[in-house]
Symmetry: C2
Subunit: 348 residues, 2 copies
Amino acid sequence: MAEKNAYNIAVVGATGAVGKKILQILEEKNFPINELKVLASKRSAGKTIEFKGEEKTIEEATPESFNGVDIALFSAGGSVTKALANEAVERGAVVIDNTSAFRMTEGVPLVVPEVNKEDIKDHKGIIANPNCSTIQMVAALSPIKETFGLSRIIVSTYQAVSGAGDHAISELEKQTEQYVNGKEMEANVLPVGSEEKHYPIAFNALPQIDVFSDGGYTQEEWKMINESKKILHDQELSVAATCVRLPVFTSHAESVYIEIDKDDVTVEDLWKVLESAPGIVLQDEPSKQVYPTPLSSADKDEVFVGRVRKDPDKANGFHLWIVSDNLVKGAALNTVQIAQSVVDNNWL
Amino acid sequence: MAEKNAYNIAVVGATGAVGKKILQILEEKNFPINELKVLASKRSAGKTIEFKGEEKTIEEATPESFNGVDIALFSAGGSVTKALANEAVERGAVVIDNTSAFRMTEGVPLVVPEVNKEDIKDHKGIIANPNCSTIQMVAALSPIKETFGLSRIIVSTYQAVSGAGDHAISELEKQTEQYVNGKEMEANVLPVGSEEKHYPIAFNALPQIDVFSDGGYTQEEWKMINESKKILHDQELSVAATCVRLPVFTSHAESVYIEIDKDDVTVEDLWKVLESAPGIVLQDEPSKQVYPTPLSSADKDEVFVGRVRKDPDKANGFHLWIVSDNLVKGAALNTVQIAQSVVDNNWL
């Protein structure tokens, strides 16, 4: 296909937490758009949304919606992706999907552009955007792996409610108000909307994100384990995860332990690698209380790293604290960056 | 000393978050008290406090306060302990101290009764109560160590604001109200009152508890590392910690990775050990969404353990989620349990 100057873009799930961020970032980054379609479920069809000062009418997403679309950005849940992604591809669109539907499918590139942009060119129509908690972790660890090798990751997450969508955001807001007004907190959404039991998230921490699966791990934990190996092209890498939801609106934080392939590396060596890594900002000055937090990282594009320490006992072991806005780099921005890589390299 | 039926008890720091809990637990457990002195700073002297339906007048803690006292329970901060603990010992009292002042001092037993009660009998007047985040972790890991051996601990904590005292509790309440009312959140207390910078804790997570120290670790992290080795009588044990403060009022949670000395142990084997361990409650049924949380553990005496999983790659590696009320087992209850062990065994 000849290179174009502007592209027909469809955003599927335009009314959701991630879809709204995608539109905002397409606008901010001045993505080369010829025509923009904003698609959602039948329920939202007919509503309007503002983009670059113009009112756009939301249309119901159907197979025909993708006629003439160059790039379709999906973030409407796994079932919508499964129903419509292949329809979009058949009509000539490249799909960049934010759900877990095709992430582990053989032949579907799973991409964090700073890490494995080149994988995009092998796509067969669908490119998957990794899980939010995976993206920020591999973005920070990939440059370390490139420089010093990497054999092991143990991660404990501190994840924001916005990762569970708009209903979870509302639930934290509502429970917080209930608490402040001395009322009992009502739980209907978290940890997982479709599960039987719900627990309050306000002033709490829930060690369940997504449903439980093999070996007592949750799906979210398996996503971090399997996706990290796929993105980093290393099936031998040991990865273990414990995923925990917090009463935080925006940004995931991660306490990460790694083992590298060298015994003589210092914290300063790691700092040097992180400082020059694309998309990474080092915030690590303990003497000045400088380290990233969810609030300080919100609405920012980068992945922030601090608290880099050598393990007290293991010469090749290090601990890091990795924080990023889960809706920005963890979802919408990474999606738009994949789209940008597609058009920049003519990988349509 | 001959065994008594009832003891003269002093509570130092009776107006603080832990001191109030100590009084509550002494009352609930019907501790054998002859005379109770409630001591605090000059500022609180003259105020009254209720104990077993009686008004007790708070006195200023001075060296003379300890004349005739059998057991003095200190929780008024390290400087008060340093100023008065030896004065109390000289006057014949056994001091059980909740601060970090003497925890690592040679000859001072550091005790979690379920783990190392016998250490109490070697005391020279002062017995130290460990750090809250250490207590719950070693309570759960000690029975595992006894049964299968233990070579390594990597812990990431999820700690409640009440561990930083009443001012931190008020700060989270105030910031929450400010947020709900659309105002900017004011930060004056956390992460550390005496430090230069303060960050909001509401809807945030702060990877700093206590001040920074060697190797980029905080004092809280070193406490977990050093105290665990002392309590478990194992200087060879590898321990690393990342301590994080959350917008949670009560109960600390911990994501803990351990390596044991055997490769053929199953999750069921670990469950069996934990189920029969003193002070431990196993809450681990993923299929029924059963696991402990800070809210579900608040105001309870036990240490709750869930999410027990075998590491995906390491045959001797396991992950656990350990939760307990940081003011109860993490502080006041453990202190009272030490006092109970002292009187039960005539270790005065």
